[in-house]
Symmetry: C2
Subunit: 237 residues, 2 copies
């Protein structure tokens, strides 16, 4: 963990490790800059650069006079503007609803392993659920959760709480990958999203990793004419 090139990187990796491992949970107060400088035997400026990087990462928040605190795990919206679906619906001024459709635990089959990127079989939780906006179907969610990484998910019903926000609060994630594609609606989508046959749908697949392996893979199917993904940026980030 401490065998990097520069002093920055070693301290950064060290502190990141404390956070993503959960040793310093969200809300935990980090040592002060002066103390960290003493601990690592470096100047305060060096520690400051590390902390600035951690702020840019969104891993910590800093308040004058109070100190630096591990941030609550944030949604991915920072980079790709895919909000929490509840927020997304509510920003349209529509009533949000959630319904669990299916929930099964099983030994991972070949397809599960491909989706999650598993090298060996584990137990997985397979969840199908529907998000509604103004009592109309809005988004169909098909999710796999790797129980080897999140064993406590096996004991959670997901009847009231959608798996997305639950996982976000429960598991620190370290990286994610999205793929976006257009497909014609399959039978499930036609029925649950009330579409006409073969209507174009936008499918967003998000694969999330934590420290130690794949956490979850989710496929969100939106009716194509009712949803767009947007991303705005400048060269200067």
């Amino acid at each position: 963990m401490s065998g990097d090139t520069t002093l920055h990187s070693r301290i950064l990796a060290d502190i990141e490790g404390q956070i993503v491992s959960g040793e310093w949970p969200p809300g935990h107060r980090l040592p002060f800059e002066v103390d960290l400088a003493a601990q690592y035997g470096c100047s305060r400026m060096t520690v400051n650069k590390v902390m600035a990087q951690l702020v840019r990462s969104g891993l910590i928040e800093r308040r004058k006079k109070s100190g630096s605190f591990v941030a609550q795990p944030k949604a991915q919206s920072a980079v790709l503007e895919i909000h929490d679906i509840k927020d997304e619906v509510q920003s349209l001024k529509l009533a949000y609803g959630y319904a669990l459709i299916a929930r099964t635990v099983r030994r991972s089959d070949a397809e599960d392993m491909r989706r999650l990127g598993l090298s060996k079989g584990t137990d997985v939780l397979d969840i199908t659920c529907l998000h509604t906006a103004g009592h109309e179907p809005f988004c169909l969610e098909k999710r796999l959760i790797n129980l080897a990484m999140v064993p406590q998910a096996a004991d959670f019903e997901f009847v009231e709480i959608a798996p997305g926000p639950w996982l976000l609060a429960e598991v620190p994630w370290t990286s994610a990958q999205h793929t976006i594609q257009a497909i014609s609606a399959d039978k499930d989508a036609v029925k649950l999203l009330k579409l006409s046959a073969h209507e174009a749908c936008l499918v967003i697949e998000r694969q999330t990793w934590g420290q130690g392996g794949p956490v979850t893979n989710v496929r969100l199917t939106y009716p194509g004419n009712r949803h767009v993904v947007t991303a705005q940026f400048k060269p200067g980030g």
Copy 2:
């Protein structure tokens, strides 16, 4: 341009201005850190922080012993992995081809103004072209170019060179917005992309602004089953 809060920000904004205005074109060598420090009357460390930020932004590249240079305008892939279509095709080990289908100059109509976000009418260049991979249609491009911002485009034929790379080399851009949606193929798409009727397509619309106003709006239509957009990221950027 120099009325910000911190010394960093003022110097950063100043240098960014030189670059996006085109005063310092791609390839231009920036003054050395020591000289900039002298010019702005600050320490070298302060300049160094600014330069580090510019590198993160992708606006400059730095080489030891040589100096710092304004970077070639990069595709947006830095943030959202949408490559230049030519690169995209060639990374699939397929032969890339480009064909101009239509090219007209006209006074902007209401639809043009909506797409480009124009407040008043200007002349626009309307281009339709096709990108092919291995002699099969790959992507249909419908583009509007704001001639008030890029007058020299009126004199360019776009027979050999696609408008995307031409604009990238010609016009510095300051911000861009993507929207991604799924639609059923329209008649043009069916014919030119050789699709079956109402096949699902992925439509990526990119609106680009330069200093002074909207530059171009492009709609890229991909067969949905042949294309995915991916975006990978970590909380640590």
